[in-house]
């Protein structure tokens, strides 16, 4: 059964280089790219106008950018090695709260994820270390509260479950780990996909974990048992990004060959495929559900952000 999505709007030349990350709140979409600035567009208006630019956020470019589910906290990771924490004020403007420097070399912190309440940040690193940081303290003190060791393979991606209980990481050697944040221990070492894992994502109910990468297959795992429950096959190139819809019914994926796919979880089938330009699709994100129909945004090497919505009826 297929599903129809229509192109709603396209913002061209949002950044002067590849857009590597998108993060959405209920009213805004944040984008990070190879340029030093983070741009924020208003998603409540039909032409998605630019609301704010965080100039010079990361001099060498932004490789990861995430928001918390409640939409009040954002975090960005730059090629110079810093992670910055951003907060939004009542009127919708973002300001820098502080930064996490891992006392290591640039790039030691790679992927990042925020908990739903914005109180915790998980990070992966080149040497495979997975850390969780508390953001609830003041600007000067955002301590590391969890330190998970893996086998040293580059942690390309990381995610925190919505209930805050689990951290998941995907690694270059194909391993996928789930850590229990309460006990601070490894919960599952999942049968991986052998090839690099470039995206991991917990379902909103924290029951399933999706993982995908160079194997071009999206694997679904049961978080509690660690069993693999499905393989979603169809992408023709490396899968770079994954995002669950608010209800957990659909999974959005984007790949290096500019294709985005939407998968229905109950039937484990692809319901639609979109092509966004002709460059790698680095980021695919659902916009948090408001009263309107379901929407998602795609961005990547073509420097544009495309907005799509579900066709009515």
């Amino acid at each position: 059964m297929s599903k129809q999505y229509l192109t709603l709007h396209t913002l061209d030349a949002v950044h002067p280089s590849d857009i590597f990350a998108l993060a959405a709140t209920k009213t805004q979409i944040l984008s990070g790219s190879g340029s030093s600035s983070i741009r924020i567009h208003d998603t409540t208006q039909p032409d998605f106008p630019l609301a704010q630019t965080l100039e010079g956020a990361h001099k060498l470019g932004v490789h990861h950018l995430v928001t918390s589910r409640e939409g009040k906290t954002a975090a960005s990771a730059g090629f110079e090695g810093k992670v910055k924490i951003w907060m939004v004020s009542e009127d919708g403007t973002w300001f820098e709260k502080g930064d996490i420097v891992d006392q290591h070399n640039p790039g030691d912190i790679w992927a990042i994820a925020l908990s739903a309440d914005g109180n915790y940040l998980a990070s992966s690193s080149i040497d495979g270390k997975i850390n969780v940081w508390s953001l609830t303290f003041n600007k000067d003190c955002m301590p590391k509260i969890r330190d998970y060791e893996t086998k040293g393979s580059f942690g390309l991606c990381v995610n925190l479950s919505a209930d805050g209980k689990f951290t998941a990481s995907g690694h270059e050697n194909g391993s996928v780990f789930i850590f229990n944040n309460d006990t601070g221990r490894l919960a599952h070492s999942l049968p991986g996909l052998v090839q690099p894992i470039r995206a991991v994502a917990f379902s909103p109910a924290s029951k399933l974990l999706a993982a995908a990468g160079d194997a071009r297959v999206i694997a679904l795992y049961d978080v509690n048992s660690g069993e693999q429950v499905a393989n979603l096959v169809g992408h023709g190139a490396w899968v770079l990004t994954l995002d669950w819809s608010d209800t957990g019914e659909y999974l959005l994926s984007g790949s290096h060959d500019s294709k985005a796919k939407i998968w229905r979880i109950d039937s484990k089938s692809c319901v639609t495929t979109h092509t966004h330009g002709d460059r790698p699709l680095w980021a695919a994100r659902w916009l948090p559900k408001t009263t309107r129909s379901e929407m998602f945004a795609l961005a990547g090497g073509n420097q544009a952000i495309g907005f799509y919505r579900e066709a009515a009826g």
Partner: protein, 458 residues
């Protein structure tokens, strides 16, 4: 140890290039060193015209030298000394057509003694003795290694003793001069390391001609002297190739017949030496209408190599130091042919439907090492890769490299339909078409006496 040495060992930065640049700067201050330092030795077939001095003879000479020192030690002499012929006088050299600068017999000698009168002299003696010993063992083992290898080997044996690369360069040259042999007879093979091939002709003043298609495997980079005439009337494209293997595979491909008839290929086998950059700069100055492209690996070193061709030494670019070298040898019009990130999983040139499944698993894709990542991060901080810098594409490709944590060698283009050679040929046709007839009327013959090159060779 100097900072270059540290950097080289830690990061593998092209400090060989840097050290050449260093000595390059000195050239301008110290004309005396000009000839021996920067020109690669003439091609070997010229050098071998005096075959009387064989390597056995050199070994005997070295051993004789060492014996004298041992005798001195046994005889409890106050001073040990080594006699060197000095190259410091320009009178010791004369220009010969067809051979370039050659040494004459008239020259001064100097003694380097130990302990000597000053600490500097003691140091010089130590340096020289150590170099003699290293050259001797290379000769005994009959290791024929490239000049750069030997020089770097020698230097890195005792960086704290030698202080800098140019010290080693100078003493090896002094030693060769003293024995009246070329560096190659010290097993310091200093033949031009770059190879060129293509449809060009050099007419020497003595009437001989050298054609770029003479040798199936390319010719050693010839030196353009100020009396030579370089004919590039058939060349529409200059392609710089990072690696010798790719250069050779292009030359041996069926497409070479077509490609070779209208292009010039050059490889400096990695980071370019000054000879290669001088040659290219000469071409750029005299044939500005000919397009120049670079084909390098998709990795931080590939980009750094291209950057060395285009902007000169990275260290200098980073520090934004303008030297005589940088503006003189830069190739600002150099374009980047590949390998680019979008070529990792696509087949762009043919315009066919992309077949990603076939290419994603292609051989030649590799993960970045931690050294690669460090280097890429450092390169992002370079002036030229800055957000508002001249190379936004380099910045973006370095970032993509880091994002995918993937690098690829040029060989990945073999996966393109028809292989690498066919891909290069297609790329050339596309460029040629784009260039159109605009350049047909521009003369493509230059005499070496025109500006630029002559100041280096004289």
């Amino acid at each position: 140890m100097n900072s270059d040495g540290v950097e080289e060992m830690l990061f593998g930065f092209p400090s060989s290039q840097d050290s050449l640049d260093q000595t390059w700067e000195q050239t301008y201050q110290d004309d005396d060193l000009l000839e021996a330092k920067f020109d690669s030795d003439p091609p070997s077939w010229i050098l071998r015209t005096t075959p009387t001095q064989t390597s056995n003879w050199v070994v005997a000479r070295i051993e004789h030298m060492l014996e004298e020192i041992v005798d001195g030690l046994l005889g409890n002499r106050d001073q040990l000394s080594i006699t060197l012929k000095s190259r410091s006088s320009a009178a010791g050299r004369v220009f010969e057509a067809g051979k370039g600068m050659v040494a004459t017999s008239e020259s001064k000698t100097r003694e380097i003694s130990f302990p000597g009168n000053t600490p500097q002299e003691a140091w010089r003696f130590t340096v020289l003795l150590r170099i003699i010993e290293l050259v001797h063992s290379a000769l005994i083992d009959n290791l024929i290694i490239s000049k750069r290898r030997v020089f770097r080997d020698i230097y890195y044996r005792h960086p704290d003793l030698f202080v800098k690369q140019s010290v080693v360069d100078r003493y090896v040259d002094d030693l060769a001069f003293t024995f009246g042999v070329t560096r190659s007879l010290l097993n310091v093979v200093a033949a031009a390391k770059s190879l060129v091939a293509g449809h060009f002709t050099i007419r020497r003043a003595d009437g001989t001609t050298l054609h770029g298609l003479d040798e199936k495997e390319g010719i050693l980079l010839p030196k353009i002297r100020d009396v030579d005439i370089l004919d590039l009337s058939c060349v529409h494209w200059i392609l710089i190739i990072e690696k010798e293997a790719t250069f050779r595979s292009l030359l041996s491909s069926p497409e070479w017949v077509d490609l070779g008839s209208s292009s010039l290929l050059l490889t400096a086998k990695g980071y370019p030496d000054l000879a290669a950059r001088q040659f290219l700069r000469y071409l750029a100055d005299h044939f500005p209408s000919i397009q120049m492209s670079a084909l390098v690996d998709f990795d931080p070193d590939g980009l750094a190599i291209m950057s060395t061709y285009k902007y000169g030494s990275m260290r200098l670019a980073h520090e934004n130091v303008a030297t005589n070298d940088t503006p003189a040898l830069a190739l600002p019009q150099l374009s980047w042919l590949g390998v680019r990130s979008h070529q990792l999983s696509r087949t762009p040139v043919t315009g066919r439907v992309t077949n990603c499944s076939a290419n994603v698993d292609a051989q030649g894709l590799m993960r970045l090492t931690s050294r690669d990542r460090k280097k890429a991060h450092r390169m992002l901080e370079w002036e030229i890769c800055r957000e508002d810098g001249p190379e936004p594409t380099w910045r973006s490709e370095l970032q993509t490299m880091l994002m995918l944590n993937t690098k690829a060698e040029m060989q990945i283009l073999e996966e393109q339909p028809g292989g690498l050679a066919s891909w290069v040929n297609d790329a050339f046709r596309v460029k040629q078409k784009a260039q159109g007839d605009a350049n047909r009327s521009v003369p493509r013959v230059a005499s070496g006496s025109d500006i630029g090159f002559s100041s280096v060779t004289r």
